[in-house]
Structures are given as C-alpha cells and as structure tokens.
C-alpha cells in the first residue's frame, strides 16, 4: 500500500507556453502571465474556455491567479491557487494542478510563473539589507551579511568540498555543459559557448561561487496545461503523463543550522524513494533530469541524493561527462536556469515536456521515455516524474 498512487498517470501536461526571456521585458508581469498562458493553451489545442483551474506560485512579484483568470475570460474555473513560494515550488505548482485533475475537480488546469526578475525585483538582492532593522529568522542572518540564496547554497557547496573534495573546477563542468546546451536553444538568454577557463576567470560572487556558477536574472513567463489523461490522448501532442510527485525533505538551511545532522544531505534523499516507488520506477529508468540549477552545485547535490551516482561522487560524475546530452543522465538540456534563464524553475519542467515529446530540435536526447524534474528552495524541494507512456 505504501507505493499505491491514486494519481499515477491520471493527468498529463498537454500544452507548454513561453514569452521571450530577456533582461528587460518592457511589460508588466500581468501581461507576461497572460501571454505565456495563451501560448500554452493554444499549444494544448484548447481555448481559454476549456480551462477550469489555475495555479501559480510567486513571492509577491507576479500576476495573481484571479487577475490572469479574468484576463483570460475563464468561466467555469473552480480551482484557483496562488502559492507563496520560490524555487521549491516549481514542481509543487504542477503537482497541485495534477491533484485537482486526478480527483475529478478539473479537466484542464493552467499553471504559470511570471516575473520581471531582472528589471523588477531581483532575487540576488536582499531587500532586507536596506532596512533599519530585521526581526524573525532574519535577525540571525542579515546583520551578519547572510543576504541571499547564493550565500546559503555557497555554504552547502563549501561543506561538500570539505567532506568529499568537490572542486570549483567540477562546478565549472556543470556551467560549461549546460551552456553547451543553451547554444542549441534559441530561447536561451546566454548562448555563447564557455570554457572551463572562462569559468575560472569569472569574478567571485560569494566564494566558492563565481558569476558563472549563478543563474540568469530573467524577465519572462512560462505556462503549461495539466489535463485529464483520457482527454489528453485526443489533444495534438503526445501527453507527458504525471506519474508521481512530491514536495518535502529536510536538510541544511541558515534558519536551523543546529537541527540537522549534516549539511551535505539534501531534499532528494528524503523524497526520492517514495517519488520513484509511486511512479513504479527506479532511478536507472530515468532518461533525463531537468534538475533545479539556480547554482551549479545544486546539480551535483541532487545527482547524488536522487541516486544517479554515489554520495560524494557528484563532482567527478559531472566532470566525466555524465550530464551531457549524450551522457548517462542528461541534465539541463535547455541550458537550465544557468543559461536558458531563471523562470523560477518552471522553464525546466517545460523542457522535460519538450524532450518527452521528441520536439527539442537539435538538443533532443534520443529515446526519452521517463523524465525527472525538480525544484529546490532552502531545505525543501519538489519533484515530478513525467512519462511518455501511461
């Protein structure tokens, strides 16, 4: 009974949509959300009137679901969810839609993320650092200069280096590999190839992370449609079935530094066993991993804790070419958040769908039947198993 999954393959992603990704969209987030949503609904072969649920996630920087639903002229919607959260919620938003569909509440749920992450509110900048005083958990972080995700994740990477000998050059392999994929992706913000030397010579943001270890601040939006599987089969594209999903985990964060045993065990170690069991797969069945890659190190940590390589060997694993398009487990085939752009992780889910459809053009990986997508924020992460066959 443990692995019984009533939602398994009951829903599927049937449409994907994008706005252009840029440094300055010139549009308010409401327009970005609407444009990506229209694109996704059209891609699914549907009209806005077919949509009966909407889910989004944001941190006070996006278009509210009720606004987008109204702009789309939705009539029969009965599942409006605005999730407040960041990177850990990219796959949760999809899972939330999948559950609404799986229980029969909705036929087609729209999911989107829209942000002006460069021209508007920037993630790398702490608004709190400009305040006169900080309370709550931040009173123990901001006065010391722990201001942004790059600091927290940098400390995780450092500890991994201390315990396992991971190197900054191995981080560079992640940056270089994902950039080589972005070269093949006309949507990507960063398309010129880079070398390990370029990585080594890029400036420090927070040692052990250099500029090229950090994702791209991006303006843009992504959207997708989650449909009931029996309807999905009649739509234009092969459905990307949602075989299982999860959000959870515990692990290191700046907020509870004394409440975990170590700083090198991350959320996938806690959610992967159930995630794989509910999908009826093992890690070796996964053909493509759209891992959340706000920073290079996050790829290494997830490869280990999802079980693609033994603990501590993620650095050599990426340096040996395993995450390349022709490697044992391709990662970031769109260029990832590092090079395609940072639409808070949702763009990586869309890439997994394109790969499952076999429509990823020159960056297509052969024979993708099962894909993993993930999101990560603080000490929690979410993940999806997507399958070409139900």
């Amino acid at each position: 009974m443990d692995s019984e999954n009533l939602a398994r393959n009951r829903s599927a992603i049937t449409g994907v949509g994008y706005t252009p990704l840029s440094r300055a969209s010139g549009l308010p987030v409401d327009a970005l959300a609407l444009n990506a949503s229209i694109d996704a609904i059209r891609d699914a072969g549907l009209t806005p009137q077919d949509i009966d649920g909407v889910v989004s996630y944001a941190v006070g920087d996006s278009a509210l679901v009720r606004s987008t639903a109204q702009a789309l002229g939705l009539e029969a919607s009965n599942w409006y969810v605005d999730l407040f959260g960041g990177g850990s919620f990219s796959c949760l938003a999809v899972a939330n839609a999948a559950m609404a569909v799986s229980v029969g509440l909705c036929r087609h749920v729209l999911v989107y993320r829209a942000l002006n992450g460069r021209s508007g509110r920037r993630f790398g900048r702490s608004a709190s650092a400009e305040l006169e005083g900080v309370g709550g958990a931040e009173q123990f972080t901001v006065p010391f200069g722990q201001l942004a995700p790059v600091h927290n994740y940098g400390m995780l990477a450092r500890r991994h280096m201390i315990e396992y000998g991971t190197t900054t050059e191995q981080l560079g392999h992640v940056a270089v590999t994902l950039r080589s994929n972005a070269v093949e992706n006309d949507r990507a913000i960063m398309r010129h190839p880079i070398t390990l030397e370029d990585h080594r010579e890029s400036r420090w943001i927070a040692d052990p992370f250099r500029l090229l270890d950090c994702c791209q601040e991006t303006d843009g939006a992504c959207a997708l449609v989650v449909s009931r599987s029996d309807i999905a089969r009649d739509l234009p594209h092969p459905p990307a079935y949602l075989s299982s999903f999860a959000i959870g985990g515990r692990g290191a964060s700046a907020l509870a530094p004394d409440k975990v045993d170590d700083f090198t065990t991350f959320f996938p170690a806690h959610i992967a066993p159930g995630l794989f069991a509910r999908a009826g797969i093992e890690v070796g069945d996964i053909d493509l991993a759209a891992l959340y890659d706000a920073f290079t190190f996050l790829v290494i940590g997830q490869l280990e804790d999802f079980g693609f390589c033994p603990k501590g060997e993620g650095g050599p694993f990426v340096a040996d070419g395993n995450i390349a398009r022709d490697g044992t487990i391709p990662v970031g085939t769109n260029g990832g958040l590092l090079s395609e752009g940072y639409v808070h992780g949702l763009n990586n889910v869309l890439e997994a769908v394109s790969q499952l459809r076999g429509k990823a053009g020159t960056r297509q990986v052969d024979g993708v039947e099962v894909a993993l997508a993930s999101g990560w924020g603080a000490n929690v992460g979410s993940a999806l198993i997507l399958s070409r066959g139900a």
């Binding site: 400009e130 790059v150 530094p257 004394d258």
Partner: protein, 133 residues
C-alpha cells in the same frame, strides 16, 4: 563594518540572546529536560519536544564548519567578508551563523579554532563574531 547595516529586532523568544551579546556573553537557549542547546531560539526542543526551555551562557569556543567569502553586497557591508557556520564546543552540531573576523578571508579553513568576541553594531547592540585563536 559600517553601522548602517540592519539591526536585529529582538522578540520575546530571542531577547535573551541579544541581551547576552550586549553584556559580552554568548547565551543560548537550552532545554530544561534534556539539556540540549538550541539555536536559533525555538518554541520547542527539537531533541525531546519539551517546551521547558531556559537560557545558559556558553563558552564561545568553536570551530569553522562552513563559510562563504562575500564579494558582492550592499554598500553598508564591507566586502570581502566571511560569513559562515561556527560549530560550538558545547554540543555536536550546535551551529551558529556568524562572521569570521581578524583573518584574511583566504586563510579561513575548515576546523579552524575560533572564539567569540563582540562587535558593536549600534549603541547597546553587539553582534557575536568569531576570531581565530
């Protein structure tokens, strides 16, 4: 560092920590039932679920567990600076986020022995920071 950095705003759960710092003492929350130290302050002991918590002064001795060297920050922070986790001697895994001072950033090492000292951020507001011994 500049004094224009944000000041901590203590609440009823954290005031004892900051009062301790103002008195040049590192005081941490401690469980009355199982004597586990807790940081950041919490409403419940994570080791035994007790809610009978009090405060104790600790030695301020520890070692560097992990860190970053920050090169890009708002003007009120003097870059580069070291922010990291210090593991205190009182208990395995008892970690506090702080700065390592009095040491070139590129000389910081894992396991480096450090001791607390107090840096005035504003009148009556001290930050606990750590210096190699």
């Amino acid at each position: 560092m500049s004094a224009k950095r944000p000041l901590p705003l203590p609440d009823d759960q954290t005031r004892e920590f900051w009062d301790g710092c103002a008195n040049q003492e590192l005081r941490l929350q401690c469980c009355e039932d199982c004597e586990t130290y807790i940081h950041q302050p919490a409403a419940m002991c994570h080791a035994c679920n007790s809610t009978r918590l009090n405060w104790k002064r600790v030695s301020g001795n520890g070692e560097v567990y992990s860190w970053v060297v920050v090169y890009q920050a708002p003007a009120s922070y003097d870059v580069p600076y070291v922010v990291g986790w210090i593991e205190l001697v009182e208990q395995p895994g008892l970690r506090i986020l702080s700065n390592v001072v009095g040491c070139p950033p590129d000389q910081v090492q894992a396991g480096m022995q450090v001791q607390v000292e107090f840096e005035a951020l504003a009148d009556g507001v001290n930050l606990p920071v750590f210096r190699p011994v």
